[in-house]
Symmetry: C2
Subunit: 303 residues, 2 copies
């Protein structure tokens, strides 16, 4: 199979799973267990907004590489997209980043109001675990592996993972920027949720310790590189918009790699991290062909 064919297959799997788990509903007050129509709409507005599905694709690709079951992996993959989406909805709220737009559309709270945006985020987070738990019960032959996968997701998404990064990020507005603090924030706010699908895949497939360590390193590298590239793209956008000098000024005071270490050092750090990501996959040999190519695509992205 070619890379584009394989990529489309993974993407199709993610979209159909999300559509199956969260179909449009019409019922305002459904019977026990059903989802009210308006709540469902607020969740779907952000979940079906054309995200790149990076985390689910990583999970499916890593699972297949390790010989795990894609049928078991579909729901955890979709659940990770729910968790990623809830974090974006809450990040956009007033009191957090207060962003009116996301992916070129009005952010969730601009359409449905702050109250329902809070609930839509809560609902996606809770539903992610509800789906993973039910999926584990439905695959009793790999119950322990699927529970370990859900636990890995919870750990990286939670108080020692993504939310830890978000908390430090919020606090950093009032504190002196430092590269050490910045790395902590990037590691947790961004990299942890890119490592989560790899660890979940390893649990589902029953990977051994060296494989787990290699995937953890791969996730860490692409996560940190991803964030630095984001900051560099922002800088170039600002530079194109405002002129080179003021582009750098616009980043000043922000906690970003280019602002703290300079654009050149940031570019070097990014290159180094992408190289490390490639090396981390070496132990999987040819079986890592898709992840290797996918990392190349993520590295070349322009938005």
């Amino acid at each position: 199979m070619t890379y584009p064919e394989q990529y489309d297959q993974y993407l199709h799997m993610v979209e159909t799973t999300l559509e199956r788990l969260l179909p449009q509903t019409q019922d305002a007050c459904p019977a026990q267990g059903g989802m009210p129509a308006h709540l469902c709409e607020t969740m779907r507005y952000s979940l079906m907004a054309g995200g790149k599905r990076v985390r689910p694709v990583l999970l499916l690709a890593a699972c297949e590489m390790l010989g795990g079951s894609l049928e078991q992996a579909c729901v955890p993959a979709a659940a990770l997209e729910m968790i990623h989406t809830y974090s974006l909805i809450h990040d956009d709220l007033p009191g957090m980043d207060n962003d009116d737009y996301r992916r070129g559309r009005l952010s969730n709270h601009k359409v449905y109001g702050v109250g329902h945006a809070i609930l839509a985020g809560d609902a996606l987070l809770n539903y992610a675990y509800e789906c993973m738990l039910r999926n584990a019960m439905e695959h009793a032959d790999n119950l322990a592996g699927l529970v370990r996968a859900a636990e890995a997701v919870a750990q990286r998404a939670g108080v020692g993972g993504m939310i830890a990064g978000q908390s430090l990020d919020l606090l950093s507005e009032h504190e002196a920027p430092s590269l050490e603090r910045l790395e902590y924030i990037h590691m947790h706010k961004t990299a942890d949720l890119l490592t989560a699908p790899l660890l979940a895949a390893a649990s589902i497939a029953g990977a051994d310790e060296p494989q787990l360590a290699a995937l953890t390193e791969f996730g860490r590298c692409i996560g940190l590189a991803f964030q630095i590239d984001d900051d560099l793209l922002d800088l170039e956008g600002d530079a194109a918009l405002l002129g080179k000098q003021t582009g750098m000024d616009a980043q000043r005071g922000k906690m970003t790699w280019p602002a703290l270490a300079g654009a050149q050092a940031a570019r070097e750090k990014s290159r180094e991290l992408w190289d490390c990501a490639g090396e981390a996959l070496a132990c999987f040999g040819e079986r890592a062909w898709f992840l290797r190519e996918y990392a190349r695509q993520l590295r070349g992205r322009k938005n």
Copy 2:
């Protein structure tokens, strides 16, 4: 054992479990997996604010009644308190109920700001599942039962449960009140999270279908009665404060049982529900002595 002794024992179990799962930390940027100090403080502020621990006590009492393991039940009990607490933090936010006070203290966002209150809620919700998943892995001899318990909690806390009720409640500000809609909201916003601990206990203890049905009915009855009593207490508070006639006026337009059906009908409905709750426990005979007495205490509460 007497009722007060048994009650204190359950309460002690809940408090020590919460303290073990969420101890105070000092580290601003802890190593992988650790909780940053400020995030931990924001979570503890609301979690350790002297709640009555109704849901955890219900879980432990039902589990012991059914012959289940209290050691296995401690963490799910604490997790339910985390979920209840997150829902209160988010309910108090501007855009939701916008309350400055909770249990006689400033609400979470008045102390830590809206951004951190959102994160503290997210963190408690995610951590509830992280703890339940880890607890399930640590008790491999009852893995399936503990996963089923976590799934029952997720189902009642989520898009077909508590959050469904919250969503309809938010929408109801703009819609014509009706008793049917009110029952839907009470059933989900309040009763579902009181049924959750009973269903979780049944899963942990491996209860049979008739026992499950009896506990579901018990949860539904005390949940709905609890909410009607709350509304009646509010009404009496308003009446004492504002005089009888204006007390009723203050409730007008609100979606409450007394406002929609009158105080007398509300009192009758409450009595009927508490009686039903008692009857639901009949099939457990003497083993239900604690739950029966606990329901009596909840019925007699004055706040």
